[in-house]
Amino acid sequence: MKVNIDSEKCQGHGRCFSLAPALFDSDDLGQGVVIGDGDVSPDQEENARLAQENCPEYAIEIEES
């Protein structure tokens, strides 16, 4: 699984980096950013989905492998 943030849609609500801090962080402006290359380890898959389902702007994309 891989995660990505559509930066056009992201408005910095901060749900992703609160719910899945191993996968997402905030930049200096408070916008969400993906940590590393976005690869999700099996134990983080649930958190990735949780982040996706709680983003008010529908900005999180998940690519299932």
Partner: protein, 405 residues
């Protein structure tokens, strides 16, 4: 409270008024009814206004900066006069700004409110909450709004701007002038506003003479490109922080405690599962969203079947969107472990609340400190709870009985 005698609302679909006593007391059934039969209500009051009640419509309008302007975001009887800063700037950038100016004004403030900066204030908030609550430990009563919730954001904003902490009472008066007294006549509102201008001008002068490590000095030294901010921009952004940072968070903390005071089983659960608090806070934000925004229609147009006229208001109810059954399962039930919660309490689109990280931190610390000190609390008298009027909703008096029962 209302200062003018207005006709009571007969039908909220065609004559709504967000200052009507029935709305102030309990707006949720009104929105549920409108959502089923309108779903965008209209009123001739305030010179013409529309009220979308479905999440889909609220989201579409919030994202549509081509047809709607944020020039003013508080519905009132007047519209901005000729001497007001025009779009895309508005009186309180960036909340009143439109693209493309909006992005510049917002970017300037974003680093100050980014999560890692906000973390620096957590110990201050915790200490403040402790100071407010400790005198009530062992007692039998507290007003969780007047004795507690109200003082938390006032203290934080005063600290951020570098204003004297003891001026809290003055800020609260300003916020009332701007947010609650919306049904006064425009001339009266301008008169009421003068003390706000005088107060800010004095603080700006002090900071010019004696720069400090605070947000006021930050704004005075900030540049857009290589230009200093216009004095109106500095004033407007300071005003924004006072208006947007105080009543809102006060309301969110108050509504959360109001809810918990009626649900001892949830209090017990949060004490035994402290990790659940963040999820519960998101649910309180959804179910009791404090903030409704506004837009003005840019040009005459048909929108979702509504004949909108230039300068009509849109009362942009994020609270109504957050109770839409098309968006949320069992929207009127408060489920403190709700896992999927794509709520819009902090708005949607480019105007997402700049202070959302701060608000969440204040809510979390305020609830943690409250729960840590009191084993049980309940409403002293449900009818004694009073709610604010206007676009920010929360309890303004919240008498609780404290005790072990």
């Amino acid at each position: 409270m209302s200062t003018t005698d207005k006709a009571p609302v007969q039908d909220f679909a065609t004559d709504f008024d967000h200052t009507d006593p029935s709305w102030v007391k309990d707006p949720y059934p009104i929105w549920d009814d409108l959502r089923q039969r309108c779903p965008i209500a209209h009123t001739d009051r305030y010179g013409g206004a529309w009220l979308p009640t479905r999440h889909e419509d609220v989201a579409a309008i919030a994202h549509d900066t081509d047809h709607f302007t944020s020039w003013t975001v508080v519905v009132g009887n007047g519209r901005p006069g000729e001497d007001a800063l025009p779009p895309p700037i508005g009186v309180a950038p960036p909340i009143t700004s439109d693209p493309p100016f909006h992005a510049m004004a917002r970017r300037l403030l974003q680093p100050v409110f980014a999560p890692k900066q906000i973390d620096l204030y957590e110990s201050y908030v915790r200490e403040l909450c402790g100071k407010l609550l400790d005198p009530f430990v062992g007692g039998s009563a507290i007003d969780a709004s007047l004795d507690y919730a109200e003082h938390i954001p006032v203290g934080v904003i005063a600290k951020m701007l570098g204003f004297p902490e003891e001026d809290g009472e003055i800020f609260r008066g300003f916020v009332h002038t701007i947010l609650e007294a919306v049904d006064k006549e425009p001339e009266e509102r301008i008169e009421d506003f003068q003390p706000v201008i005088d107060y800010f001008t004095a603080r700006i002068e002090e900071h010019r003479e004696n720069p400090q490590d605070d947000l006021t000095t930050f704004l005075l030294e900030a540049k857009l490109g290589d230009m200093e901010l216009a004095p109106e921009h500095v004033f407007g952004s300071m005003l924004l922080l006072i208006v947007a940072g105080i009543d809102t968070t006060w309301s969110a903390i108050g509504s959360s405690i109001w809810h918990l005071a009626q649900h001892p089983e949830e209090v017990a659960r949060l004490k035994s599962e402290p990790g659940l608090l963040d999820t519960a806070i998101e649910e309180f934000l959804r179910a009791y969203s404090p903030v409704t925004m506004a837009r003005l229609v840019k040009e005459d147009m048909d929108y979702a079947g509504c004949p909108m006229k230039k300068d009509d208001w849109i009362l942009l109810s994020f609270p109504a969107a957050n109770r839409d059954p098309e968006m949320f399962e069992n929207p009127d039930e408060v489920i403190i472990d709700r896992k999927v919660n794509r709520h819009a309490a902090f708005g949607l689109g480019i105007h997402r609340c700049l202070g959302s990280n701060l608000a969440r931190m204040e809510m979390r610390v305020a609830l943690e400190e409250f729960l840590a000190r009191f084993d049980s609390f309940s409403l002293a008298d449900p009818d004694a709870v009073t709610w604010s009027q206007g676009q920010v909703r929360g309890p303004r008096s919240l008498p609780l009985t404290l005790g072990n029962f």
